[in-house]
Amino acid sequence: MMEHIRTPKVENVRLIDRTAPRKAMVGTLYLSATHTIFVENNPETRRETWVLHSMVASVERPPTTPSGSHLVVHTKNFQVVQLLIPQERDAMDVQASLARLSRPEKYSELYCLSINPNANKEEREESWSFLDLQADYRRMGVPNNLWVSTPANSEYRVCDTYPSELFVPKSATPPVIVGSSKFRSRGRLPVLTYFHQDTLAAICRCSQPLSGFSARSQEDEQMLEAIMKSNPGSDYIYVVDTRPKLNAMANRAAGKGYENEDHYANIKLQFIGIENIHVMRNSQQKISDVGELKTPSMGDFLWGLESSGWLKHIKAVLDAGVFIAKAVAEEGISVVVHCSDGWDRTAQACSVASVLLEPYYRTMKGLMLLIERDWVSFGHKFSHRYNHLEGDPKEVSPVIDQFLECVWQLSEQFPCAFEFNERFLVQLHRHVYSCQYGNFLGNSQKERRDMGLRERTHSLWPQLWKDRAQYANPLYRADHTQTQGILRPNTTPYCFK
């Protein structure tokens, strides 16, 4: 990494506070293998500002002025650091170094993998066993006489982006499992993600069927039927396609699409209409631009907010969760959720529904587990979506950001219902991007296993748990009416902050 640093140290740099531009701090700028560090000259305070390279989203150099060259660093968690460097040469060097350092080409360049794996070996190994995903399934009451664990994917041979432990209906035989996976995009067949003990209804997730205009798969139809049968309380299931109907229909031309109600017995199809990753990426860019307007009027701000569409998307995700939660808890009907590939909008909808349904997921450990299951184990493409390595910019999108924001909106509506505070969510968001820990590296469980992450990095979860006093919500009461049972949020537009 050091070879990418052209200038490790620059003196007489000014750190400009964008809210008080006349009050700039003068100090020295350092570039290390992992961070950019600004140290104030003031001998009394010597205040330090650290920015992790992996958090850097962009480094801009506006035209040079008589007072020097500016560098504007935007981070992935919306921090803006503005520096004034006296020599243009230095500014160019810093910009080039940072540009390379913040866009690693290999995983081994990342912070979490640059540490010595043998230091704190025991601590590291222990950190990975802090959360037990299987224990959470057991807490939900799975496996039971309706749902069983299948070894079919133990070597990731059925689906290489799914976890090795899958739960399927008891009546689903191996041929059905394999056949269904062949009929689903990326092999992502319908499997269990949440079981509601009170009503015996379940949430299953998958990807779009490869149905095109007329293709059918007996095994896939049997799979959905098995899912329906594993809920004795109902004789049909919902299939929730989280895409806008038009997009889903367009996919049929590419040999994919959605479930035909005529072919699948006893399903009710429901389109939710969450937009795709490209729309979301643009939306976030727009809203972050609004945040950077110099002196916006109230009108500018509200208009910018509206035209970004961001809150509209948040509402769509929340509405999806509400629909699923209602179906499972109030109607007692199982739900199969998918989008296109079943790793973005599906993850959002299922995890929001879980938060609404289950008080446990509103605790710190619970939320960590939920993320570990619905996002990490089920193959959400973290490294692609959050730009851990230099890659395709079209793959980048604030998907988990939206989930975290939904949780935040819920916590604002129900201030007593969550064990954690806003800082917890902000910290989670940060670490999705920071690559300081190994949890979110790679794009699937298999990839992580192949990279040997457990042997080479630390897990974030025990560290968060250690700091839990900072993240506790003082208004949380486990026995409060707001905390128990199901959350029924109001998703009227004025409820969104």
């Binding site: 701000f301 509206e306 809150l311 007593c416 409060h480 707001q482 109001n490 537009p493 004025y494 969104f496």
Partner: protein, 527 residues
Amino acid sequence: MEFSEHIKTANVEDVVLRRPFHPPMQGTLCVTGHHLLFSNRDGDSSRLVLLLLRNIDAIEKRPSVSSGTITLKCKDLCVLQLDIPGMEECLNIARSIEYLSSLDIVSDMYPFFYRPLKLSLQDQWGLSSPEQNYAQMEELQDRWRLSHVNKDYSVCPSYPPAVIVPHSIDDETLVKVAKFRQGGRFPVLCYYHRKNGMVIMRSSQPLTGANRKRCREDELLLQAVIDGSGLGYIIDTRSNQQAQQARMTGGGFESKSSYSCWKRLHRQLERGKVLQESLIKLVEACGDHSHSVDRWLSKLENSKWLSHVHTALATAGLLAECVERDGHSVLVHGSEGTDATLLVSSLAQLILDPNTRTLDGFLGLLEREWLLAGHPFQHRCAHSAYSHARLRLEAPVFVLLLDCVWQLARQFPLAMGFSEPLLLRLAREVYASDYGTFLCNSDQERCAAGVKERTHCLFQFLLKPSEREHYSNPLYEPTELAIWPSIQPQSLQLWRGLFLRWTQHAVHLEKAQEELRNLVIECRGAS
């Protein structure tokens, strides 16, 4: 006033009442001169719902063959429905409500009849007096004096009987100045900044007119204000253009040539119809449950309510900066000096003066800067956002003040000694009240109507030991510092507690507030 003349049907049975947060209730409806009473006997228990008729902003009736539904839209934004059996009864009730909810004569209004057992008319009315306020501020006494030139309200009908003016200016001068200012509202002191001896003065516009008249006495008075400091600021709550145009109708502004030591700053604050329309649009947006985020945001923006909050806080911040950071005295005025002027001067005081942030201090601020200062409450709060009546002088300036105070309290949760329930209570009382505090348009009118002798004082009631607990902020930590609000749009939020008060949303937030209270009380008890 014989109320019974207007009540043809006084009682109806088997009426169904629908209101927020409760299931529909069946019972007996009763109309009195000032109230609607609804009583429901369910087995052993009986429940009574009381609604002050004055609180009703608009009434819609839908009569059908044998019955009718009356929808009552209240000034506190609550919407109720009554299903009344019998079309004639329904129409009679509606007619009574229409008449009795918009009484014009002050002495007919409920505060003159409200006689609760626990309060006595002999109790002190009001928190303080100009004399007491002046006596408490020893530091200003060598340069400022209390003048009783207005003791019979003849010099300025909307001012209190005693005002604070510079020592060197005698009463005769004041009389001449009053003739040069709209409504007789000559410049008076409203705030003295202890830290540097600078002051905030307020007034109305000078009547320079198209001929650019001058008034030596007015110039003398203003000169006396900045004596020793060399420079003063005038914050005109009209745009430059509006101030120029005011000359055509006899008003004007302080020109540089006549007032050379004063620097004029213009900040346009809306008032009157514009504000009322803004409120109407906002309330309409909040009542629209359509499920589109775009529509909501666009309606919110279109109402411009948050823009008014923004401008008010920005101007108050500017005023406070002039006094504390620049170290100069300020004169603030608009046209009439009874709306935007008072809004800005009170907010600036909250920013600068920790004493106005305690529960007592805040009510005292309202008493001085709104009640005694002559804000025309009766005109401004005759109707709220739902009313179909032709609007005359209505404007939610006081509600705007409360909203701005709420924004301050939200940005500085430890700085205010009072809590949101106080602001919500005041927002309701100003439109419809059992108390006489917000009646009339000036101190003179209140005296003439005998408000102080024949009604009860709201502020005294709120400060009673049994009540103040509810209105105090458990997180309050006194500080000597000024509080500078952020006026970036992201920092200003819709006051959901007021505008969405009657939605389920508000219930959860209330629960959270209660939880917070209990927590703090526990902590304080333990330590």
